[in-house]
Symmetry: C2
C-alpha cells in the first residue's frame, strides 16, 4: 500500500436506507431516503468514542482516505482526520455523512423520484440545516450511537453542529464549530444569490430539468464556482498565490484568459462542473441563507443556545472574510451569555475561508489539544 | 427653477470632435473620435481655475446638475460638485468628460464605425487608462487649458489622475486620488473576470454583435452589476441596510427573491441593463485590470512617480474593501519615497467603496479644505 502513513488509507462508502417518509421543514416530504456515509476507526465497546463530521457546501462523506491506490487526492479533510491527527482515527470512531439534497450518493436532485420514476431534479424539496440534523439523528439511531463524543463541522458544517446542539442537547458531548456563523450576513446572501442567478439564467438549466434533456448548465455552475472561490480566499492569499502574473508573460489586449488568477478560476470552475449538480448547488446555498437558529427565539441567539448541554469549541481565522472572526465572536458571546462552556481560538491565517481545510500549524495544534479533551470520558 | 440651492442647476452636455486618428496602446487606432463633456462654473481670464473630473466604471460626464427640471436624479457626484461644495463651481471651471470606449456619447462600442457604417460593437479596440489620459490631453488643448488646477477622480477615475500626473507632469498642479489603487489586486481581477464571463457566456451576447442582431445580453449584464454592487458596499453597510429582512416577512422555500438584499441587487441589476452597454462594460473592466504604471519601471512605483510635479491628495475609506486603505497607503508611500508632496486622509466610513460618492461629513470637510488650497494660485 502506498498511502501516506498518517492516513486512514483505503476507505469505502456505506449507505443506510430509510423506508419511512421524511417530512421536511418546508412542509414537503420524501417517501424514502438513503444516506451515504464513511467511517474511519473503530467504535469502542461502550460506543462512547463516536465523532460525527458534517460537511460544507461542496464537501461530502469522503472526508478522509482513498478509494483506490490510484486516487490522486484523498478525502477533503485529510489534513485533520487520520492516525495522529486532530480527529484521530486511532482514538475515535469517525462517521462522515453526505447530506440529503446534495449530489454524492445520499438522496437528492440526481436521485430517482419513486413517484415518477425520473430524477427528482428541481422537484427535490428545499432542505434546511434542521432537516439535515434530523437525518443525522436517524442515522445515529441506525448505527446505535446514543451520544456522540463530538460533532464537528466547518462553515455550513458548523451550522449543522450548532443545530445539533440545540435540537438534541443530550446527544453530543462536544460541539466543534469552525469558520462558521450563527447566520449569514446580507453580503453572503448576496453572493449566494448571484451564484444562483448565474445557474438559473443559464439557458441549459431548463428550469432544472437539464438532466432529462441531456444538457448541463455548465456556464452557470462555472460562474457560481468562480465567484465562490474568490470569496473562499483572502485578498492577501490571492496576492501571494497569483499576484498580477500573466499567463503568457504579456498583455494581449483581449478577453481571453491573461492573468494567472483568471486561469486558476477558470480551471476551478471547469472542474466543478464535472463533479457537482446545479440543482444541488441551488439547494446548498438556500440552506446556508435560511440558517438562523435565533429566529424562532425572537432573534435572541442566547435563548436559542439556552438548550445546549455540549461543551463548545469555536475556531475562526483572521483572514476569513466570508465567515469572519466577528461571526464567531457572536457565537462565543451568545454561548457565554447563555452560561455555556466554550473555548475559542482565533487563528492568525491569511488563507481566507479555505483555512479550515489547510495544515496551518497553530490550527492543527489547538484542534489536536481540544480533541484530546474530547477523548477523555467525563467522570 | 426648482433645483436645490447648492446645485449647478441645469446643465447641457457638449462635445468635441477630433478628425485625427487616435492610436491606442493596444496598437490599433480609431480614424476619428468624439468626446462628450460637461462644464460647470466659469473659466477665469488666465485659465488657471480649471479642474478636470475623471469618471469611474459606471460614471460618465454627467457629474453634477440636472438636464431638466423633471430629472429625478442629479449627476453622479452632486455631493461634491456645486456652489459651496468641495469642488466649488463658484471658484472653479469644472470639466467632466466621458471616456472613449464607454457608452454615454463619447466614441465607443455603440458608436458607428466609419469603416463599416455599422456599430463598432466588439470591434472597438481595448482602451487603457493611458489612452484615456491621452484623449483628455487632446481635449485640454481644444479647450485652451494648458494647466489644470487639479485633476480629480475616484476609483478608476483616480487611476486616470495618477496616469495624468506621470504622463503630463507639468499640466496639473494638484492630483486628487480618491478610493483608488496603483494596480488592482488578484482578487479584484478575479471579480472582474467573473463579471466578464457572465456577459461573454450570455447567449444573447452573440460575440458582441447583439445590437446588430436586435438582442441585449440582459442576464449577463445584470449578473455583472449584481456582483459589482456587493463589492461596492461593505459587509457592515449591507447589514445596516438590509440585515436579513424578508421581502414578504416569511421564508417561501423557493428560488424567487426572498431577502431584501436579493430584491435590491435584482433592482440594481435590472436598472443597469437599461443604461449600460455590455461591450463597454467589458472594456471598462479590462482598463481596470491593466492599469499598473509601475510595470514599465521594473515594477517600481517610486520610479513611476518620480516624474510627478503635482501635489497629491489621497483619500481612502476604512470600510472600502474593494479599494482598501492599504492600496492608498501604497500610493502615499511611493509618493513619499519619491519625495513628492502628498496629503492623505483616511476617512472612518462603513459604506464601502461607494463612500466616495456619499455626503460623509469628515470626507466633505477634508475634501473642501484641500480644494481651498487648490484655489490659491502658487506665488
Amino acid at each position: 500500500m502506498s498511502f501516506p502513513q498518517q492516513s486512514v488509507g483505503l476507505v469505502e462508502p456505506q449507505s443506510a436506507h430509510f423506508d419511512q417518509p421524511l417530512t421536511l421543514e418546508c412542509g414537503k416530504s420524501i417517501p424514502e431516503w438513503t444516506m451515504v456515509y464513511e467511517t474511519y476507526g473503530t467504535l469502542n465497546a461502550d460506543k462512547s468514542n463516536a465523532v460525527l463530521i458534517c460537511h460544507a457546501l461542496s464537501g461530502d462523506h469522503h472526508a478522509a482516505g482513498y478509494y483506490a491506490e490510484t486516487d490522486k487526492k484523498p478525502g477533503w479533510w485529510e489534513t485533520c482526520i487520520g492516525p495522529g491527527k486532530p480527529i484521530d482515527s486511532q482514538q475515535f470512531y469517525i462517521v462522515s455523512v453526505n447530506n440529503i439534497g446534495h449530489c454524492k450518493g445520499s438522496t437528492g436532485p440526481t436521485s430517482i423520484n419513486p413517484k415518477t420514476g425520473k430524477h427528482y431534479g428541481p422537484d427535490f424539496p428545499i432542505v434546511t440545516v434542521k432537516d439535515w440534523v434530523k437525518t443525522h439523528k436517524k442515522l445515529s439511531e441506525a448505527l446505535g450511537i446514543q451520544q456522540w463524543a463530538a460533532i464537528i463541522g466547518g462553515s455550513l458544517g458548523g451550522m449543522q453542529v450548532m443545530q445539533w446542539a440545540i435540537d438534541y442537547p443530550n446527544d453530543l458531548r462536544h460541539a466543534v464549530i469552525i469558520a462558521s456563523a450563527a447566520k449569514l450576513s446580507a453580503q453572503n446572501i448576496g453572493f449566494n444569490e448571484v451564484a444562483r442567478q448565474a445557474i438559473l439564467s443559464d439557458p441549459d438549466f431548463r428550469d432544472g430539468w437539464y438532466k432529462e434533456q441531456g444538457v448541463v448548465p455548465k456556464k452557470g455552475l462555472m460562474l457560481a464556482r468562480m465567484l465562490g472561490h474568490i470569496t473562499y480566499l483572502s485578498d492577501n492569499a490571492m496576492r501571494q498565490k497569483f499576484g498580477r502574473e500573466l499567463r503568457e508573460g504579456k498583455i494581449n489586449y483581449g478577453f481571453n484568459v491573461e492573468f494567472q488568477v483568471e486561469s486558476y478560476l477558470h480551471y476551478q470552475g471547469t472542474q466543478f462542473v464535472d463533479r457537482f449538480d446545479a440543482n444541488a448547488y441551488l439547494l446548498m446555498t438556500k440552506a446556508l441563507d435560511y440558517f438562523d437558529p435565533a429566529k424562532t427565539y425572537y432573534n435572541d441567539l442566547v435563548a436559542a443556545f439556552q438548550h445546549i448541554q455540549a461543551q463548545s469549541f469555536v475556531v475562526s481565522f483572521t483572514g476569513d472574510w466570508r465567515f469572519a472572526p466577528e461571526r464567531s465572536h457572536e457565537i462565543v458571546k451568545a454561548l457565554v451569555d447563555a452560561k455555556k462552556e466554550v473555548s475559542y481560538a482565533e487563528i492568525e491565517a491569511h488563507q481566507g475561508h479555505d483555512a479550515f481545510l489547510l495544515p496551518i500549524p497553530d490550527y492543527i495544534a489547538v484542534f489536536q489539544a481540544y480533541m484530546a479533551r474530547v477523548a477523555v470520558l467525563p467522570a
